[in-house]
């Protein structure tokens, strides 16, 4: 019986440990200040980060900025792109290895991501909290408010 409990615990760890629900706090979508867009639907954000929507209105090229890892990265992909970080990396690897696209610029920290978005026309990224006024904030998601 003890063995059975052990097995159950291992399975709970494996399936829930990695799949446990996140507690969403803030997730901000940011763009370069001169980007001609003020709001984005959730579906549009997915299309953008999957490279399916490649330009803003007025034909401005979209440049993607992502985090390399971390909780905010995982939350963003889960919430908006419906992919795990591994699936997202492989998705872009496929595009790159088939010559179909250029992988998003990725950053170790949110500060570096913000700096990049602030100085790159057409850039879009995401952060977990407001830290600057140098970028345009497109949409603030608060899961608790939505519920």
């Amino acid at each position: 019986m003890k063995m059975n409990k052990g097995v159950v615990l291992i399975f709970l760890f494996l399936f829930l440990g990695w799949e446990g629900k996140f507690i969403f706090s803030k997730m901000l979508i940011i763009t370069h200040p001169e980007t001609h867009v003020d709001s984005l639907e959730k579906k549009e954000i997915r299309e953008i980060f999957l490279g399916r929507k490649k330009s803003w209105e007025k034909n401005e090229k979209i440049t993607l900025a992502t985090l390399k890892k971390g909780r905010a990265h995982k939350q963003f992909l889960d919430r908006f792109v419906n992919k795990t970080p591994f699936q997202f990396r492989n998705y872009w690897r496929e595009k790159v290895f088939l010559g179909e696209g250029e992988s998003p610029k990725s950053f170790e920290t949110e500060e570096r991501l913000i700096n990049y978005v602030a100085r790159t026309k057409g850039a879009v990224g995401y952060i977990s909290s407001i830290k600057t006024r140098s970028v345009k904030i497109i949409m603030v998601i608060d899961e608790k408010e939505e519920k």
């Binding site: 494996l14 990695w18 419906n82």
Partner: protein
């Protein structure tokens, strides 16, 4: 290297040089590549390699260069080489090389050599790091015909069409031709039709189309792909053709070694239906492929021989990623050479008419660049084994019905 390939290389090098000279800062050339080395061993039957003895002739490598010339135009090329048993032999070929004009999100055009679309995974089958398994289900992604299924040279249209509440459609249409090499795996596979050496493949127009619908149900996508082409093979007999007769000397040589043989495939159509469901770290997939082909073989002035081959294959797979470094995958596949004769009653031995494969694979991502995989297969039937690789000491084809295959592969990509 063929003259056409040389032209491709010159055009692309010139393109890249002009880009770098024109605007060093604006355009950067992305360089990516991969190299993988595998090993496979089987307890019976040689499969793809001399697997009964164990074989390291199981590797692939590729390097690609791509750049954005303008906001809407991309240019890229990939060189690739592979070795699988006695095919490939690490000869460097252009895997893909094309110019891409993305006019709108819903319509882009590509010209050059593009990856062929068959099912969900054919485009990426060279890239071991993108999938769970070492060997994709062979009934659909047969290594036996890989050189024929890799690329299309011609023109392609593609796009993404958002359907608002109904999800999203991705489509790709390719029109062109494909290069099949006389020393490739397809040439080797062609020898199942008779004792001949392939001298040349002529592929007439090839049409290929793919539609993938990302449904409103989160994680569910459905796809259908179609390939339609005609192939002509020019070959020569590799041994005398002798037939029994009712009068002395009882055997008659009707054609000699070296005599020309032609094999026309006026119809070769492949339909592939796909479904994939992703929920968090779980990916479930199932695909079904129907291939219809007619072959008319002709030797000298003898009566032409007409053969119809209507094959069927399907599989179901599941993979789960337990952590950043570990993934487990399983699949079960069935392949029938003739879907109207699933028990193989028209072939000898009957189990050469089908192949059923249960596979389990363990994937370890040592880091994002290094991937190590272990894979085991329990197989019933030998329909996808080459007869010429399974000759006994007397030169007679000999198989074992039930067998096991084990493969290991290490991949590095950047």
């Amino acid at each position: 290297m063929k003259p056409l390939n040389r032209i491709f290389i010159v055009i692309f090098i010139a393109g890249f040089m002009s880009v770098s000279a024109a605007a060093e800062e604006l355009f950067k050339v992305d360089i990516h590549g991969y190299i993988s080395q595998g090993y496979m061993i089987s307890n019976h039957n040689n499969f793809l390699t001399e697997s009964e003895k164990g074989s390291f002739q199981f590797n692939e490598l590729g390097i690609n260069f791509s750049t954005a010339l303008t906001k809407k135009v991309r240019l890229g090329i990939q060189f690739a080489a592979r070795d699988l048993g006695d095919t490939g032999n690490d000869k460097v070929l252009i895997d893909w090389a094309y110019a891409d004009y993305n006019w709108r999100d819903w319509l882009g055009i590509r010209i050059g050599k593009m990856k062929q679309v068959v099912g969900l995974y054919n485009k990426t089958r060279d890239m071991d790091m993108l999938r769970t398994f070492i060997l994709l289900p062979q009934g659909i992604y047969a290594e036996n015909y890989r050189d024929a299924a890799t690329s299309v040279k011609g023109i392609g249209l593609y796009g993404e069409v958002p359907l608002k509440l109904m999800g999203n459609i991705s489509y790709q249409v390719l029109i062109g031709t494909t290069e099949i090499y006389k020393d490739g795996s397809t040439a080797k596979a062609s020898k199942v039709f008779g004792p001949f050496n392939v001298e040349k493949f002529d592929v007439d127009d090839l049409y290929s189309g793919s539609i993938i619908w990302e449904t409103p149900l989160k994680g569910l996508r459905l796809g259908v792909t179609l390939v339609d082409t005609q192939i002509k093979i020019q070959a020569s007999l590799s041994e005398d053709l002798i037939i029994p007769v009712d009068f002395p000397p009882y055997f008659l040589t009707v054609a000699g070694r070296g005599d020309p043989v032609t094999a026309d495939f006026p119809k070769l159509t492949i339909y592939t239906y796909s479904v994939e469901y992703t929920w968090k770290n779980l990916v479930l997939a199932a695909e079904c492929q129907i291939m219809d082909q007619n072959m008319i073989g002709k030797i000298l002035d003898l009566e032409p021989l007409e053969i119809s081959l209507n094959s069927l294959s399907y599989y179901g797979s599941a993979s789960y990623r337990f952590s950043d470094w570990f993934e487990l995958g399983v699949y079960y596949m069935e392949y029938y050479k003739d879907r109207d004769d699933k028990k193989g009653t028209r072939v000898d031995p009957p189990y050469s008419g089908y192949q059923k494969d249960a596979c389990v694979c363990f994937r370890f991502d040592l880091n994002p660049q290094w991937i190590f995989k272990l894979e085991g297969h329990l197989i019933d039937g030998v329909a996808l084994c080459f007869p010429q690789d399974n000759l006994n000491a007397r030169g007679i084809v000999e198989y074992d019905k039930k067998w096991a295959l084990f493969a290991v592969k290490m991949t590095f990509c950047f």
